[in-house]
């Protein structure tokens, strides 16, 4: 191995450097630092509405950082331009929260879509690779079904097969465990781990499933209250005395993270209009 090879491996596939993300003038998350290396499974955890999906949108270039830099495959995502972004995206796989399957195509064609659109492989190879990926998520025999004929959990598994069919170098999973039964959940978690080890790719999971993500992740980042609350290996975080981390991991109702959505002047005005004094 030459020095440059070693550098290439050492360089993170995805890096957030003091990043602030948001929509318009509103900042959702600030001061985010993150490094994701080859062969690693990274779990981004946080409660509902903590901005996890916003992080994923930043990593795919759907939104640009308000401050700081996001580097994907060594390139600043804000500076690559449209063609550069397209080239970067060809090396990524993304599992969307709702699956985002194409409703006009059947299960097989959904998984075949990236192969047909982005590669020139033959029809036999497409069939072989798609059936192999569908087999990995346990849905080989569902290849012929329409999207309207499969359940929500099955749809997520199809979406997973589609995200990995090109065997990308960086795979981003938005809530891969949501809506899965316990059997599928364990299998999918192992699939993500196995794929990461075999392809030496990087997997970034956005999730709030503590047990499953801790069992497969190399590194865990906890976000909340508009910033990064903690990071470390699962073992370190389990032993953490940080009150935020403890409350989140143990699912305690009381602690620094409020269950109730905070009051706002707009809400109080609305209440007054209803004739209720806040």
């Amino acid at each position: 191995m030459t020095n440059s090879d070693a550098m290439a491996i050492a360089e993170p596939l995805l890096r957030f450097d003091a990043v602030a993300l948001g929509y318009g003038d509103r900042t959702i998350l600030a001061d985010i630092d993150l490094d994701a290396h080859r062969g690693q499974v990274i779990a981004m955890m946080g409660g509902s509405g903590s901005g996890k999906t916003t992080l994923l949108r930043g990593a795919t270039g759907q939104i640009l950082p308000q401050r700081g830099t996001i580097t994907v495959f060594g390139q600043d995502i804000a500076k690559v331009g449209n063609d550069g972004l397209r080239a970067l995206r060809q090396r990524m796989g993304v599992l969307f929260q709702q699956g985002a399957l194409f409703t006009d195509l059947n299960v097989f064609e959904n998984v075949a879509f990236p192969l047909r659109e982005l590669t020139t492989v033959s029809e036999e190879q497409i069939t072989e690779r798609v059936l192999e990926k569908l087999n990995a998520v346990g849905l080989r025999a569902a290849a012929h079904l329409k999207i309207s004929e499969i359940s929500g959990g099955m749809a997520r598994r199809v979406a997973l097969a589609r995200a990995i069919v090109l065997e990308p170098e960086l795979i981003l999973y938005d809530e891969p465990f949501a809506g899965l039964d316990p059997i599928s959940l364990g299998i999918i978690a192992q699939l993500i781990r196995g794929l990461t080890d075999r392809l030496q790719c990087t997997s970034v999971l956005i999730t709030h499933d503590v047990a499953e993500s801790f069992s497969i992740a190399d590194r865990v980042y906890v976000v909340g209250q508009g910033r990064l609350l903690a990071q470390g290996e699962p073992k370190e975080l389990s032993a953490s005395t940080n009150p935020y981390v403890k409350q989140f991991l143990n699912g305690e109702p009381d602690g620094p993270i409020a269950f109730h959505y905070p009051d706002s002047p707009a809400f109080e005005n609305w209440l007054r209009q209803k004739g209720i004094e806040p």
Binding site: R89, Q90, V94, Q98, F102, E117, L118
Partner: protein, 262 residues
């Protein structure tokens, strides 16, 4: 004072909004045309849409054409009969259909049948994050989704208009010749002598192509810009019918003035 101010600013807002939409509409057309190479490199995508848009509109177009033909036959006969020239019924029916009713009524039905389904489909694809997913996969959704649908609509529309006119002529013949008893030879020979291929038929085809471009583009634009909610998609679908119908009628006036004035 404030009422005056509000009125003026409201008017200004309307003008700005209209200019904005016209600009966005033209940009979408330009974006579609720039990416139209896929229609040539993957003709299967376009033929699928011609099938979807055209074939499923065929029944409503044919049935409407038949009834419009029946009515033209009846009304035409009553009017022509006053002047003793009922043999010209074939000519009247054919000219009305090829010049005006074929392209216009087909485009109106097309906006209601195919336009709405295009808008709803694209709006729902947007609501289901399908378009965002495509973009993140490095697949351009304008090229992959809009271009085949655009060319599908533009190809299907003149064919549907031709079917409408053809069935309409048969409808006129059924009423005029079979029911009223006009001489069949006179019906067809007057039509053959009086209908000009370039002036009447070709102009009708040009009209239907332009209507096809307008209606399909409006449907795609509305779907593409729909709010990704059930309410947003339903509003966009309604706007497709309203804007599509108004655009067809407005364009028809302009085109008729250009084509048939001396």
């Amino acid at each position: 004072m404030s009422v005056l101010f509000r009125t003026i600013s409201g008017l200004g807002g309307m003008v700005r909004g209209t200019i904005y939409h016209l600009g966005a509409f033209t940009r979408l057309l330009a974006a579609i045309l720039r990416r139209s190479g896929i229609a040539v490199s993957r003709p299967g995508l376009v033929s699928q849409q011609v099938h979807f848009i055209g074939n499923y509109s065929l029944l409503i177009i044919a049935v409407s054409g038949l009834f419009v033909g029946f009515v033209l036959g009846l009304q035409g006969y009553y009017t022509l009969n006053r002047y003793g020239s009922e043999e010209a019924l074939g000519l009247l029916v054919a000219l009305s259909l090829t010049r005006e009713l074929g392209p216009v009524v087909t485009a109106l039905l097309f906006a209601g049948r195919a336009g709405t389904s295009l808008t709803a489909e694209i709006g729902l694809m947007k609501a289901g994050e399908q378009l965002a997913a495509m973009e993140v996969m490095a697949v351009d959704p304008i090229r992959r989704v809009l271009v085949p649908r655009f060319w599908g609509g533009v190809i299907a529309m003149p064919v549907l208009a031709a079917v409408f006119s053809m069935v309409g002529v048969i409808g006129g013949w059924v009423v005029g010749v079979l029911l009223i008893g006009i001489d069949s030879g006179a019906f067809w020979s007057q039509m053959q002598a009086g209908v000009d291929v370039i002036n009447d038929v070709l102009n009708g085809v040009i009209k239907s192509v332009i209507f096809g471009i307008a209606v399909t583009l409006i449907a795609l634009y509305e779907g593409w810009n729909a709010k990704p909610t059930p309410d947003g998609v339903s509003r966009a679908t309604t706007r497709t019918v309203v804007s599509g119908a108004l655009a067809v009628l407005g364009l028809d006036f302009l085109l008729t003035a250009l084509m048939f004035s001396n």
